[in-house]
Symmetry: C2
Subunit: 564 residues, 2 copies
């Protein structure tokens, strides 16, 4: 008898429910709910472009809708399907997306008092209001606890847990004081479904805590109270109301409550896995394993690898996270990424739009770009239009294009932008390998990997490696479903471990992209030049003279961007 | 009684005839003839994008047409006008535009044998086929006669006289051997009009010879025979068939022949001035004087200054020419310039065309750019899309844009490109002043100066100087007419010297552009960053690490640009 698992994938703009056949990974039905608050589910502030918040109510409403629709669809798709055959639930969300909650674990934004205060909502991963706080945290950690930074690439980001909480304390102490605790969105969802919302009961994700909250059993969990208190005494006090234990996603957060079973049309008591971040479960759903890098390519990328926890592994400078069990239990999860990839192409086609809407479309530009040989345009681009996540970990960087003549054509620039992101991707692989994490296989997933042969071929040619493509078009939700199958366990038709589940449920497409050696040879030359620009504009120690150019431009820009 | 002078301005695509009232510079009538050979008057070679030749027959045909039309128009415009009241003729042409001629001074391309051979035509200034030869000449001169290079900015260009002749010798010895001599276009025209075409009789332009053929009385005229013979013995032999004397444009090349007087509808015996280059007579027509820089702003720029010949003047590295009498007799003419200015804006609006034809037009982009404060876009551009003429004298450089984000808008890039050219212009002024040539006044002329207040205001703000605009919209032709008035002489209603003629015939517009000090302050900050990029990518001694990036990209590009 077929058994099914339910994967729930809470994204930036929508939630997706996926029902998967546990035996073979076949995706039976999927449903999506678009969030309704704010702009495409994001609460914005016209006076502060850095602010991005989310309404947890959207997640709950969308969850109910998407699961019910998915079940209905599944009934139509598979004649034997029955919601009772679902054996487990897995959850992934964006992150770090923390929200302030009260003693009961209820989001403060659900209180009448705070219902219009963005600071009481979930602070979406892409909220960039907390740059000053992240700089303070980085500086203090560098002095007092360099080990905290060593596992997160050497810089604590403004996108992360404590930067956001600290910023809330600085700009809205009323919200901070009203918050009993703060929880990551992935923990909030699993807690709601399993009736464990009280912060003391709530099961916290190793993935979220390890990658974003400097949590490690090496130093006894969260950063020391004394450390947090040096930032602000109130932050020090908060520590004891956060959490002391974290769990991997092969562990149950609890069992589905009666109430939610009814709302969703599922059996009460179903095991629900501890939540994790979308990219990490996406890597699971793509088939991540030792020696296999998974590249999740969308507007930005996440480049995920794993390494056995019982084998020695150096700190890898610039790799934003190395966390035991954050991807696969028993392995360090390693997370790197590029701050913008698809976003750069979208900027060129959408905002610059060379030649107009039609001529400047992705399709038209790709058609031109395809005809150009490597190096033929004479152009070279840095892929930093949204800063650099790996290996420089520096948001205060910007794009660069060099080699323009009076004859440079839009398709040539488009191709140079693609190549720039490929060089950035190669820099990440090289960094992994320099520190001993050999990458024998690259599996790509995400919209660009699925739909863009030109980009994938350029990636293969630049990296000199075969680019494989994950079979699933929804690897995050599939990864969640795999977690659901694992927490269900073997005796009900699930699996004992992630690797067992992956072996049955993951696969790659027949089509892959193999490097053309002649192109790779040229790209090796171009990569040397890319590296020169990368180091000159990105590394102080390499070239003090140019290192400041991008930063000074940003400073001048900020001083000149006044309210009119 | 009103007296008139005729200015003839032979451009890249057309010839213009201008009739001017000698007393006050009033422009009575003008007529233009578009050349008909090739593409807009330029003979191209589909297999070699560097080739650009011109048919001297176009010049002669156009001359006749334009003068006759101008005379007809003048009769309608000024009731007292009569072609007999024209007292002198001046000539300017593009350059270096040399053409091979026979014993009689007839262009080889007029011979049946060579009528289809582009090498037998005039080698237009923008012909870039001779880069290898120019490198050889520069190298040999650096070793053997560094003084030859000192006056032409340290590098002998592929656009210049001997590079082109040497290239002809290398690629088409038949044409080279058939050529008795080579003459600059400006000398060819004056010779035709005055019946002095035989190379031995022909009056040669100081301006052309000094700026493009390494001619200086300091070392006895043209480069030594031994020097030329080291490049190729045949070049050494050619020297004696070229010229030994050069003249300034206040000297008569001769008198108008009966034959040409009839063709043009003028009096025979009219004095014709020795020819000069368009930019140099354009500077005269704009009012160039000691302390006054004239910027001729078009697709590229020419930045002309003068310095008294009897006062000491250092060699100015990177200034492409310092020649006694090339602009005003009795003064050194100093020529600098930017390889692309209007061409860069045309590239962005015409080839990139952001948002399409309408949204990407100059007007629409200017409207956006105007609203942006200095520094507000965070962008910075190098203005090297066509190489750098001054002060780096390096064609193997390319454009660069830095500071792009995911939100960068076309109008911001357009403004950054304008600012980049302004920073390039400031670099030239600074170089003049570093070597003692104080610039107290800047007069602009050319289409951009006339028609683009946005660009002129940015130039004023970047340079911290008032930008004045020459009154005439055709300063080159006016400069030629001034030369015509000077060779006519005082007794027939002309003038004894250029400054006297300029005082009467030149003026500036009432509208000028004064710097906003707040903007200038920001631009001073940005200029520091521009200089950092300029030196890193343009100067080997500053940063060996990045200096090669643009050159390596060009090399790779060339290796990848194969015939398909």
């Amino acid at each position: 008898m077929n058994k099914y698992s339910l994967g729930l994938d809470f994204g930036t703009n929508s939630v997706r429910a996926l029902i998967v056949n546990v035996a073979n990974g076949k995706e039976v039905a999927t449903a999506i709910y678009e969030y309704e608050t704010g702009q495409k589910g994001i609460i914005l502030d016209p006076s502060d472009p850095h602010l991005a918040r989310q309404n947890p109510q959207d997640c709950l409403k969308g969850l109910k809708f998407a699961v019910r629709v998915a079940i209905d669809k599944a009934k139509k798709m598979a004649s034997d399907f029955d919601a009772k055959k679902i054996i487990g639930i897995g959850i992934d969300t964006t992150g770090s997306t923390p929200l302030p909650v009260d003693h009961e674990g209820t989001p403060l934004c659900f209180h009448e008092k705070f219902k219009d205060n963005p600071n009481a909502f979930a602070w979406l991963w892409k909220d960039h209001t907390s740059t000053e706080e992240s700089a303070q945290i980085t500086e203090l950690a560098a002095e007092e606890h360099p080990e905290y930074l060593a596992k997160c690439g050497g810089t604590y980001s403004s996108e992360w847990f404590f930067s956001k909480i600290f910023h809330c304390l600085n700009v809205d102490p009323e919200v901070f004081d009203a918050a009993y605790s703060w929880v990551e969105c992935c923990d909030y969802i699993s807690a709601v479904l399993t009736g464990t919302s009280q912060p003391e009961k709530m099961k916290r994700s190793r993935c979220a805590a390890g990658h974003k909250a400097m949590f490690s059993n090496e130093w006894g969990g969260l950063p020391a109270k004394e450390f947090l208190a040096m930032l602000d005494p109130k932050l020090g006090e908060l520590r004891s109301r956060l959490f002391h234990e974290t769990l991997t996603s092969d562990i149950r957060a609890g069992m589905l409550t009666e109430k939610w079973a009814e709302k969703l049309g599922l059996l009460a008591g179903l095991p629900v896995a501890v939540g994790a971040f979308d990219a990490h479960l996406g890597a699971v759903g793509s088939g991540v394993a030792p020696g296999t890098l998974v590249k999740i390519i969308g507007t930005s990328t996440c480049d995920v690898a794993v390494w056995p926890s019982n084998e020695p592994l150096a700190d890898i400078p610039g790799v934003c996270g190395i966390v035991d069990g954050s991807v696969l239990p028993g392995y360090y999860g390693l997370e790197a990424g590029q701050s913008a990839v698809g976003d750069i192409f979208n900027w060129f086609a959408g905002t610059i739009q060379p030649g107009g809407k039609e001529k400047g479309s992705h399709d038209a530009l790709s058609e031109q770009a395809e005809k150009i040989r490597p190096g033929q345009s004479g152009l070279l681009a840095l892929d930093w239009n949204n800063g650099n996540r790996t290996v420089l970990v520096d948001q205060r960087l910007s794009g660069l294009l060099v080699g323009q003549t009076l004859h440079t054509k839009p398709g040539e620039i488009y191709r140079a932008l693609i190549e720039g992101t490929a060089f950035g991707a190669l820099t990440i692989i090289n960094r992994y390998e320099e520190y001993g994490v050999k990458i024998a296989e690259v599996i790509n997933c995400g919209g660009i990997a699925e739909k863009n042969p030109l980009i994938m071929q350029i990636y293969a040619d630049v990296m000199g490696r075969e680019m494989k493509i994950a079979q699933s078009a929804q690897t995050c939700a599939l990864g969640s479903a795999i977690a659901g199958a694992v927490v269900a366990g073997k005796q009900v038709g699930g699996y004992a471990t992630f690797p067992e589940a992956q072996a049955a449920m993951c696969s790659i497409k027949n089509v892959s992209y193999k490097p053309h050696l002649e192109n790779h040879r040229i790209y090796q030359e171009l990569y040397k030049l890319y590296s020169q620009l990368h180091d000159a504009f990105g590394r102080k120690e390499w070239s003090g003279k140019l290192f400041n150019v991008m930063k000074e431009l940003l400073k001048i820009r900020e001083s000149q961007t006044r309210e009119d």
